[in-house]
Structure formats: C-alpha cells, structure tokens
Symmetry: C2
C-alpha cells in the first residue's frame, strides 16, 4: 500500500496530506461466511495523499516528510478517513415531501398522499430544488455518490453538476403519462437527450430506470435491454418490493417478475435490482449466477412493512450487495450511516443470527458494494492510490464514540452523521468542518420552506 | 392548557419563557388502535414558562407580555420543545466497553468477551467513570431520565447526583458472586444501604433489579417481592429475552418464566419487564391484566438477534410500553431518538403492518411510557403546568429535517440526536446550545481513553 513512484515527489507541490488517526481503506473484499473484524482492516499512523482529483498515496506518516516534503498537511487527530458512502438508491427530489405522510399502507400512502401531490406540484423547480436539498443532506452525511430515480433528469443533472457530488442518474421510464413524458417512448427519447448532453461529464453517469415490472411492460423492457446493452448503461429497477406486487404479477402473467426478467436475459451484471424483499432459493441462485447486483433499502422496507431482503443468504451466495436510503418521503432521511447500521441490525434479527452482515460487511456494502453496482469500482468505493479522491472524515473524538477499540465498529454501530466533518469528491473539498462549500444552505432551506407553504394544505 | 393562576404573575421574576416554534407536550394518551397523527398533537405560537424546577405554564405567545412581563425570554425559532426522553433500560457503565466485541451470538459474546473483561476490570472507578460517560452521552442526546441496572449502585448514584440528570437506579441482584457482592443476600443489604443514603434525593429513585429468572432463584424473587412491596420500589428485570432462555427455564422448571412470576404475584404495576421478545397470547393478556410495564429495547434485540417484542399487540391489549437503549456494549449507543425510530420501524416490519407503532406512539413510549413505567408519571414525561421542567429543544431548522409539515414526524423519523440543542432537568439547564454545563467533557473523554488503554489487550 505504501509503494509509490519516486517520481511522485516531483509533483508534490499540489499534494494534500491527510494525517488521520485511522484510515479505513475498505480494500479487503469480505469472503462469504467470513466472521469478525480484525485490526488488519484499518491503518494507524498513516497519511493519505490527494493530488488533484485522485488519491496519490497512502503511506506511513514517518515517511511523509521525505516523500512529500511540500505537501500541505492536515492533521486529523481522533478522525477516521474512509471512502465516501454510496447511496445506491434514492428519489432525491422527494425530500421536499419528507414527513408529508407517514404510517400508512404503501398503496394508501401513494394514492391518497404522494401521487396527488406529485401530480399537482412536481415541476422543474421542484425537481431541481428538491434534488439540491437532498444533495446538501447527503454531503453533510458523508455520501459522495448516489444513484437517483425521478422525473426530469435534466434538472437532476443540473443540481448534481453544480454541487460537485458524484451521481448515476436513472433515466426513469414508465408506460403511463407523467409530468415528464407522455409514455415510455418519450421517457426514453427525452432521457437519451439528457444523456447526450451530460455523457462526457466526469462525475455523472447514467442508467435506465424502468420503475418496476408492474408499471413497465415487457415490450418496453425489451427495448431498454437492447439500448442499455448498446450504450453500456446499467438498468436500475424496483423488484420484488412487496408480496402483493409479486402475487399480482403472477396472477396477471403466470410467472414471477424475476423469472420473467431472467427469461428476457435481463438478470446480468448491468442490472441493479432494488429492494428484493421476497426471494426464493431459486431466485437467489439466479441472482448470484448472473452477477445481478442487489440494492437493499432496509429502513424503507421496514417503515413501509414491505419485507426483509435476505442479505445474509445473498452474500453467502456471492451476490454483490449495495445499500440505498430510498426517497425521504418514505424513509424519512438520506442518512447512509444510519441506513448501513439498520442493514446490519435487520440482517441479524431477520435471520435470528447475530453473525449475519457484520459491521465490516455492512460498511463494504455501503462503499465498494455500491461502487460495483454502479460500475464505478475502478474509480471509487475504496481508498487506493489511483482511485478518485472521494473521501470522508468521521470525527470519533466525541463522547458518543468513545472509547475506540475498533474504529469500524464505532462508525457502523455508534457514530451519527453529524460526526462526518469533511467530505472530498474527486479531490474537491465539498464539506469543510461541517460547512458546505459548493451549495448555499440558506437558499436551499428557504426553498424548502416555500414548497412547504405551497404544499401543506394538501395534507390529508 | 393556557389557563393559569393570575397570582402566578407575582412570581414571574424568576420565570424563564421559552418561545419555541413548536411545542409537543405529549399530553394526549394514544388510544389502542388509534391511527395517524393530527396537528392537534402539537402547539404553535406558544411559550412555555419554567419557574424554579417546574413548568409553570404553557400559553399563547401573545399573552406572554401581559402574564409574565418580567420573564426572561428565550426565542427558539425553528425549534421544537418536548419532554425529555426517558431511557427505561440501560447498563450505563458498560459504555466503557462500547465496540469491544460485536457480531457474536449472545452467549459467546458474554463468555468470551464481556464477562472476562468485567471480572478483570470492573471496580468503583470503572462504574463511576463509565456512568459519567453514559450520562454525558444521554444528556447530549436529549435523555433526561434513565433507569439503570449495574453493579455498585453507590458509584452510579454519585455520578447521577453530580450530573443533575434524573435516574431510577436498579439495585442489582444475582445469586452468584460478583464484583459487588457475594450473593443475593449481600446484593440486597448493600443495595438497601445505598437506597437509605439517597432516598430523599429529589431526582433519584430506586428499584430492585434482579437480573433474570435464570440468574435469580425463586426464593430470592420471593424475598424481593416482599421488600419491594413494603418499600414501594419497582422491580426491573430482564424477561423472555431469547427463545433459548425461555426453553432452558421450561426444561429445568417445567413452567415458562412469565407464568412462574405470575404465580408468584410478581406481574403487577411495580414490574418493569425488559425485552419480552417471546410472548404468547396468554402472556400478553396477563401482562395487560396485571398492569405490568414492558420495556422494549429494539436495537439490542436486533443486534443480538434475540427476537421481536410484539409492541403492536401489547399496545392493542392496553399495555404500557417504554423504550430503553440497553447498554452500549451491546447496542452500541445510548441514542434514544434512534431507538424510538427503530422501535417504530421494527414494529412495522415484524407485524408486516405499516400502521403499527405510529410516530406518535413511539414518541409517547419514549416519554410518558417511560415515566409511567418508572412510577414518575406525575412528575415527568409530558409538558404540563405543575410537572418538573424536564424539557428538551430539538432544532428542526436544519437541512436534515426540512421541510416541516409535521414536527412529530421529523423528530421520530428524521432528526438526529445532535439536533438536540438544549436540555433542562428540573429546571436546570444541563445542555446549553450543545454544551454540557454540569459535566467536564474532556475529563470524561480522557478517562474513557485510559480505560481503553488498560482493556484493549484483552481483545479476543
């Protein structure tokens, strides 16, 4: 890890050296069934070097003076550095509906609360300003990259680009008319226009986001399958979120949704299957064999009483697992630290096995797991020389995370997101000692309050 | 709510007026089966008056000048005032073992990690300094009262008294020898000495804390039943935490633990039954009929894979439910806001019903529910004139909790504990804009680090 090209020193004028108490690189890939953490999974007495947008080096602190004599040193006592969290499923703009309606069955919640409000209020400003609110929340909580699914990807892309966060924008597709498009055809063509406009942006990538098997026809999925293969775009789709959804599909089509996708060749490493709370062993095997990624949204599944994704069984089968918050209208936050803790706790209670989804496995799912799902594993997800400098610092030097026997345990089971003090994306310092550098917090808050004034009277 | 004695104005020299954007008094008692929140459950445009240790009044802000012309006014825009959270089950001193060992089955965790360390290191300083660490964490997270179960109640009482927090100290009883006492007899006599020493302290109350049916004999429980009745002390006990524990008891005694206690008359309003993850309908009925309180520790039950307390069924049966964090060695924090959120989420996924344990019911369990369990419902648990001024302020004016359609939803499902900015216990301002006023944070942190240096090499 500390072998560097001696020529690097010549470039060290622009180097930033982060000297943190712990570095948690997440470079170790957990082996299925691997138990317990070991101290080899973090470094002490090391420094991380950022040069431009990349991680240039990780080396013992005592070599810093020799190797990077001109580096600008930031001393970070009591802090842990780790890769930025990757929120693998979000509906960012829906943050403007946070807490609008809770504690209802999914369909009642959608039909009486969310859909009527969306139909009445969602416009370009809503998507742009809602996405800004979400990005501000995510950066403040240590998320450096997210995958989104919502209408008007042009507005999402604009908000993402201005903020400096990394994102994979799902080009949403549904068959019926929405505020964004008349039908699936128009979803695809308008989506591809946005893709063309932004495809050369370093920090933006795209996927197709057909909403779910019950809102997108087989014909549309076949078309997406072809286009996504040609353009090397992932497909990001809600799958097997509830029993009712699976049963209804079987009643109509005489086949379970996942088997249908499998028959169509859609189970493959380009597919991000979101939720996956109802799976039989055959389906787990298919997911594993085909390299399909599973995006687990534990708090959303709990709050909506959807069911439990069998994360332990999936990991044991060798499936790549990522974690998402889902939208703040259902969750009600975009707090990836809380979400990965919930993932670890839910895996244990659901399987009645406290060894399922260890602290390290949960943290891996929220970093490298997300990077793999998004196809960004060579760029982000771990701290490794040559990768993008998507890095967060967590201050463990707080009452709430003392004493520190094991920084990974503290990060997963005890730290709160406000302990994230610094965030870099591609080497840009986007959160500096809890202050957002690229976004105007008070403007974002004022916009949120204005939307509340417009929307609140729709309350049931 | 805003009817006051006009004579009050005469006393208003010492009054403090908190003018918050929202006041969530928690005075409404949820009816079993009651769905959804309504805006009648919080107040806007009101001020709360603290006089000495008590809440003197809650009144519309426009009456403030007339009624309390000399009150010292604190303007709290964007903040919600609510009763302090009550942590109904904790092993405070075990905070010094936070993150020492995770992700193991309960008995392996106890036998290979926790018990050996406790046997080697627990002494008076460990209990005193560990309890201080826990109290600092609890106050910073909005907990104003906790119920504790650990050895050396004299040290716990000392730490509690110095901090100004309110507590019910469980006088721990086990049959076997511990660092505190040779046997149950000595546990009781030493416990009663501590009780005698502190029983007139306003903010301290006591209970007996027989550890569990598998560590405390029937004879000891009979003795405790008599003494607790005579002294009007509650009994606080782990019950039906795991299937194994229930099955082992049945194998040995041919009766389930709860039925045994019921036969002994121990199911009654003085009993705080902790965990209760394995209950049949008959047992739920007994608990309801006898007025036994249930203390739910959702994150501990999840992390140790113990099982799910059927909170929805208990509430529907009319049982009083309170919430506890358990100790930080297993949980790994004392974060009551996260814990009550977990309670709401776990109830829904366990019952597959999103209407179970609504936001309001979860918040009620963490405030009035706790007060009732501890027998303090006339003093604390809600914001009501005449009650003790145990109050917290939560700053909702943050990116993470915008926009605010409903402050209760934001508190339960979105706010993090660092948004707790102010805490009063009995009118004393113990957390002032995130600063602890009665405890020295750096001393507490240094002590925690010293313990880590001593203990860390015992790591498995």
């Amino acid at each position: 890890m500390n072998i560097t090209d001696p020529a690097k020193s010549a470039k060290s004028n622009s180097a930033i050296a982060l000297v943190a108490e712990w570095i948690v690189p997440m470079t170790h890939t957990p082996v299925p069934g691997e138990k317990q953490l070991s101290s080899s999974k973090w470094l002490e007495g090391h420094a991380l070097i950022i040069e431009d947008s990349k991680i240039a080096d990780i080396l013992p602190t005592e070599q810093l003076q020799d190797r990077y004599p001109d580096a600008e040193i930031t001393q970070m006592d009591g802090m842990a550095l780790m890769p930025g969290l990757i929120n693998a499923h979000c509906h960012a703009a829906m943050s403007l509906l946070r807490g609008f309606s809770d504690d209802l069955p999914l369909h009642q919640w959608l039909e009486t609360a969310i859909w009527p409000v969306e139909a009445k209020f969602v416009d370009e400003d809503f998507v742009y300003q809602g996405t800004q609110l979400a990005i501000a929340e995510m950066l403040r909580g240590g998320t450096t990259c997210f995958q989104d699914m919502y209408f008007m990807p042009d507005q999402i892309a604009k908000a993402v680009q201005q903020s400096g966060i990394r994102a994979n924008i799902g080009l949403m597709v549904v068959d019926s008319e929405t505020v964004w498009a008349r039908d699936a055809e128009e979803c695809i063509s308008k989506g591809l226009n946005v893709y063309d406009q932004y495809k050369h942006n370093d920090k933006l990538s795209f996927s197709f986001a057909p909403h779910a098997p019950y809102t997108v026809s087989k014909q549309t999925l076949e078309k997406l399958s072809t286009i996504s293969f040609e353009l090397s775009l992932n497909i990001h789709m809600h799958l097997h979120e509830t029993t009712a959804e699976v049963n209804d599909y079987v009643n109509q089509h005489d086949i379970r949704p996942l088997e249908q996708l499998h028959q169509m060749g859609l189970l493959n490493p380009q597919l991000n299957a979101i939720h996956m709370t109802h799976l039989n062993q055959q389906e787990i095997d298919w997911v594993a064999e085909t390299g399909t990624h599973v995006i687990h949204c534990p708090q959303s599944n709990m709050k909506l009483a959807s069911g439990c994704c069998p994360t332990g069984l999936l990991l044991d089968a060798g499936v790549n697992l990522a974690i998402g918050t889902d939208g703040a209208a259902s969750n009600n936050d975009l707090d990836m630290l809380a979400e990965l803790q919930s993932a670890a706790l839910l895996a244990k209670i659901d399987s009645l096995n406290p060894e399922q989804l260890s602290a390290y496995q949960a943290l891996y799912a929220a970093t490298m797991g997300g990077a793999k799902a998004l196809g960004l594993e060579n760029q982000v997800g771990s701290l490794k020389p040559g990768k993008q400098a998507d890095i967060i610092a967590i201050d463990l030097n707080q009452i709430e995370t003392q004493p520190v026997y094991n920084p990974i345990s503290q990060i997963v089971y005890a730290a709160s997101r406000n302990q994230v003090t610094h965030v870099w994306v591609a080497g840009k310092h986007l959160l500096d000692n809890r202050k957002l550098t690229s976004l105007n917090e008070s403007t974002i808050m004022n916009n949120a309050r204005s939307w509340k004034e417009k929307i609140k009277d729709c309350h049931q």
